[in-house]
């Protein structure tokens, strides 16, 4: 049994400094992030994140579920990008099984994944601007987000916890005219991004609050395991969609926005540029959407269609077997990383040859990115902490799992 260490309370080094708590209940900490700040007047001497308030042991729970039952759990890790988590997990298990996914399912996955990215970035943009004092942007962002959530509801039946991607494809063929609705949203979206940019990009108050604030250098960001927009805004050009393509991203043309300043404003610019790139990917996916099945031809893994199940004995048997005893996965291990809106979302799945995963580990981008906060904030003012937290875009569910 391990020795128990005391609570990580910072001791004020000298009489001049004061230790205060920021969070876990604080509107700008985006969840239940608890920060211990040692301050000297308004200046931060040391900062220590204390996380774990949302730890629900999802990794442990996964070990007691069948492979297909883990998919809904992955939604609940990060409520802003459920599809990205579904995708990463499904890709990992498909890699373990050696399963080939039909093109239509891949394109649907790419399209919905990019809509998820837009959704996540919109929530980030709205709340980040709100933290810094711009109220209007929040209302505009949530107006568009609502449309995306309605699209998700149309395709999966759920607004947030979608569980739409399944092992071997997607759950069900999207409803009639779904692609038309996506197109309608997507065509109007660039104008909305212009709207947000009009409000913020050249806004002097916003620029003063963000330019040069919470700076992190290229070397530090890399050493502190930052990924995603946080890393790209510091000048490192890594995007897994382009560098390690998965689920058919190699068929799409898009740019990877990179900035070199490494401050809050640079991270803002990178994410806004990503909104536009995602819109382009959705447009390409709509244009070239192939016809065909949305599930792999693997009857022992993929649940049969309802119609088949009620008319064919064999399909009924497979359905019964998958639901009651799951399907076995050849022993082995796989690490599948995808580019989530926050950075590298990796799933490490170990199989021991049974119907339940031996180990599922999620490499959460929020968890890793949070380590940069210290470098960003020390020596700066308390008010900048709020901007810094907003700029690394953490989701505490993702952080604590």
């Amino acid at each position: 049994m391990a020795e128990i260490t005391p609570t990580p309370v910072l001791d004020a080094a000298t009489d001049q400094t004061l230790v205060i708590n920021m969070g876990p209940q604080h509107p700008s900490t985006h969840g239940v992030l608890h920060l211990l700040l040692e301050i000297d007047g308004e200046t931060i001497v040391r900062i220590m994140p204390d996380i774990g308030y949302l730890h629900t042991g999802i990794e442990k729970t996964c070990e007691a579920k069948f492979y297909q039952q883990v998919v809904p759990l992955t939604d609940r890790i990060d409520y802003l990008c459920p599809m990205t988590n579904n995708l990463a997990y499904c890709l990992a298990v498909e890699k373990l099984l050696g399963l080939e996914i039909p093109p239509r399912a891949q394109w649907l996955r790419v399209m919905l994944n990019e809509l998820t990215r837009i959704n996540s970035h919109l929530v980030w943009l709205g709340t980040h601007a709100l933290d810094i004092g711009a109220m209007t942007v929040f209302l505009y962002c949530f107006r568009e987000r609502e449309q995306i959530l309605r699209l998700f509801e149309a395709v999966s039946g759920q607004r947030m916890m979608t569980s739409y991607f399944r092992i071997g494809g997607v759950a069900i063929e999207p409803p009639l005219d779904f692609l038309g609705r996506v197109k309608e949203f997507n065509d109007a979206f660039p104008e909305h991004v212009d709207e947000y940019e009009d409000l913020l990009t050249h806004n002097p108050i916003f620029m003063i609050r963000t330019k040069g604030v919470a700076h992190i250098s290229k070397e530090d960001a890399l050493a502190l395991a930052a990924t995603g927009p946080t890393l790209r805004a510091s000048g490192i050009d890594v995007d897994l969609r382009r560098d390690a393509p998965y689920t058919g991203y190699e068929n799409f043309k898009f740019n990877v926005p990179v900035a070199t300043e490494g401050d809050v404003y640079a991270r803002y610019l990178v994410r806004v540029a990503e909104l536009r790139e995602s819109q382009k990917i959705v447009a390409q996916a709509l244009e070239g959407m192939p016809e065909g099945p949305v599930k792999a031809d693997a009857p022992n893994v993929v649940l049969p269609d309802r119609e088949k199940m009620k008319t064919q004995m064999e399909a009924l048997i497979y359905h019964f077997k998958i639901v009651t005893e799951g399907f076995t996965v050849p022993a082995g291990e796989v690490y599948q990383a995808v580019e989530s809106p926050r950075g590298e979302m990796g799933y490490y799945v170990v199989s021991d040859g049974t119907a339940k995963p031996y180990r599922v580990h999620m490499r959460a981008p929020s968890f890793a990115n949070l380590q940069s906060l210290r470098k960003m904030c020390e020596g700066r003012l308390i008010a900048d902490v709020v901007a810094a937290i907003g700029s690394i875009d953490i989701v505490l569910g993702d952080c604590d799992r």
């Binding site: 128990i4 050696g98 502190l224 291990e333 490499r363």
Partner: protein, 165 residues
């Protein structure tokens, strides 16, 4: 896409630059290697872990400059019980490699990678918290997810999923 059989023969795997690099650095520290499902895993001897990571990080052609992930698998009741797993990533070549260290139950400790990558901090604290593996020379090895007065390490296989401990 049928599964190809895994390659575990060190001689065959020398064609991978990562394996060749580590073997030329210190052949005694490389215990085994495996190439399965297009992913390369290298088992490293416990005392050689930090050296192996530094070698891969500083090699001019490999440049594994980022530590993606640190995690652990508990193979209870077999011995060695724990496998600590490191995923390295190169932002230059965009390749990945997996390093593994096997640890026995009664002496589950390994060198911390924080001197090489300060970002190993949270990952190692998480593995310590949930598996009870100690990382030597870690500057702040404390629980991160569970409360400080928690007993036991929840992700160990002998820790129940539900009910009383």
């Amino acid at each position: 896409m049928a599964l190809e059989p895994a390659i575990t023969d060190l001689e065959q795997l020398k064609s991978h630059a990562e394996v060749a690099c580590l073997l030329s650095w210190n052949a005694a520290a490389v215990e085994a290697a495996k190439f399965d499902r297009h992913e390369l895993s290298i088992y490293v001897e416990r005392t050689g872990l930090r050296g192996a990571c530094a070698t891969l990080k500083n090699d001019a052609s490999l440049q594994y400059d980022a530590l993606s992930d640190v995690t652990c698998v508990d193979w209870y009741p077999s011995d060695p019980r724990f496998e600590v797993i490191y995923h390295l990533f190169s932002t230059v070549t965009k390749k990945r490699v997996r390093l593994k260290v096997r640890l026995s139950d009664d002496d589950a400790r390994v060198d911390s990678l924080t001197p090489l990558w300060p970002g190993a901090d949270f990952f190692e604290r998480e593995v310590f918290d949930l598996f009870g593996v100690r990382f030597q020379e870690h500057p702040n090895l404390k629980r991160i997810m569970m409360p400080d007065n928690w007993e036991g390490h929840p992700l160990r296989k002998d820790y129940p999923v539900e009910g009383y401990r």
